[in-house]
Symmetry: C3
Subunit: 131 residues, 3 copies
C-alpha cells in the first residue's frame, strides 16, 4: 500500500489529486489493472467529477451544504456530524482503471479529495491490483 498526504485550506473544498495519482502509477510502473484509492478519514471522502470548470466543484460543496446544514440538532458533540454524513454519501474510496500505465478517466473527469471538516492534513492510500 502506498500513501501520500494533501493539505486542505478551508472547512469544505474539493482538492484535485489526479496528477499525484498518475505520478504514483508512473513511479511504480503499474501498467494494467485497477487502483484502489482510499481515504482513511471519517470527515473527508473521494469523488470523481468535472475538473475543467471549478464552478462544478463549488456547486457541489454548496449543494451538499444546503442538504446537510452544519447545525441540525445532531447528537455527536464535535459539531461535525454534517461532515460525517457527507463522507458516507460521497464514499471513502474510488476504483480507477489503469490501462497501459495511464489512469483511464473520461474527458472531463478528475479525482478529488472532498474535505468536509478542514483545514487539515489528509492522507490518501492507494493499493494496486494487477490484472
Amino acid at each position: 500500500m502506498e500513501t501520500f498526504e494533501v493539505h486542505t485550506s478551508r472547512r469544505e473544498e474539493l482538492l484535485r489529486v489526479t496528477s499525484a495519482l498518475q505520478e504514483l502509477v508512473d513511479a511504480k510502473g503499474w501498467r494494467d489493472g485497477a487502483l484502489v484509492v482510499y481515504c482513511p478519514h471519517t470527515t473527508a471522502a473521494l469523488t470523481i467529477n468535472e475538473a475543467a470548470d471549478p464552478d462544478v466543484a463549488a456547486d457541489l460543496v454548496m449543494a451538499l451544504s444546503r442538504l446537510l446544514p452544519r447545525e441540525a440538532g445532531y447528537k455527536h458533540v464535535e459539531g461535525n456530524s454534517d461532515s460525517h454524513v457527507k463522507t458516507t454519501l460521497v464514499g471513502p474510496s474510488q476504483m480507477l482503471i489503469v490501462s497501459g500505465g495511464r489512469i483511464q478517466l473520461g474527458t472531463w473527469q478528475g479525482v478529488f479529495l472532498c474535505e468536509w471538516d478542514g483545514p487539515r492534513n489528509r492522507k490518501i492510500w492507494a493499493q494496486w491490483l494487477g490484472q
Copy 2:
C-alpha cells in the same frame, strides 16, 4: 479494458445494463474475480438497486430531483449542476463479484446506468480483475 455504449432517451432515467455486462463476462470467459464497471462521464453514474419493479427506479429519479432541483442558484453556467451533484452522490463505478462466470447479484438486484443529463450516448468501461 472493455467498453460498450448505451443510449438514453430522457434527461433523467435509470437504464438496465446487467445483461450487457453478463454477456461481456461470457464472451471473455471471465470466471472468478471482480469486474470494475466504470462510467467515464460527469453527469451519469452507476448504481445497483431493484430491477423487478420499475417503480423503484422511478422513485429514485423523483427523490433525487426533489433533493437537488435543476435550478438552485448554481454557479456553473451549463445548467446541469444538479446532474453533477447526483453523479457524485451515486458514484461513477460499481464493483461486481464474479464467481464461476456469473455476476453475483442479490435476488432483486440489477445494475443501472443513471442518466442525469440526457438524452445522450454514454460509454461504460469494464476492467477485469481475476482472483
Copy 3:
C-alpha cells in the same frame, strides 16, 4: 466468494461488521490485496465511518431520514422507497485494502452495514483480490 449473515433489530440502523471481516481475512490467510465487501440487498448498504462515538451512526440515520422521509408520494407500493434511495446513495459495496493480513482502516474508521428496512437477516458477500 465468501458469505456471512448479520441480524438487524430496527427499521434503520448501522451495524458494525469490521471484526467479522477481519476474522474472515484471518481465517483465509489473505495477506496483501483488497477485499470487495458487497451487500446483495436493495434496502441495505455498506459504509465506512466513525466507529468510536455511536452518536455519529445515530446522526447519520437521522440525517438521511430527514432528507428522505418514509412517506413522500412514492409510486413503489411496498412503502420502502426511502430505503431503496438511501441504498443507492450510500452504495452496495466497499473496497477494503488489506496489507500484511490486516484490513487497513483509518484511526476512527469502522465498516458498517446500513439497515434501511429492517429488522431482517442480511447477507454480506466478500471476494478476495490478491495483488
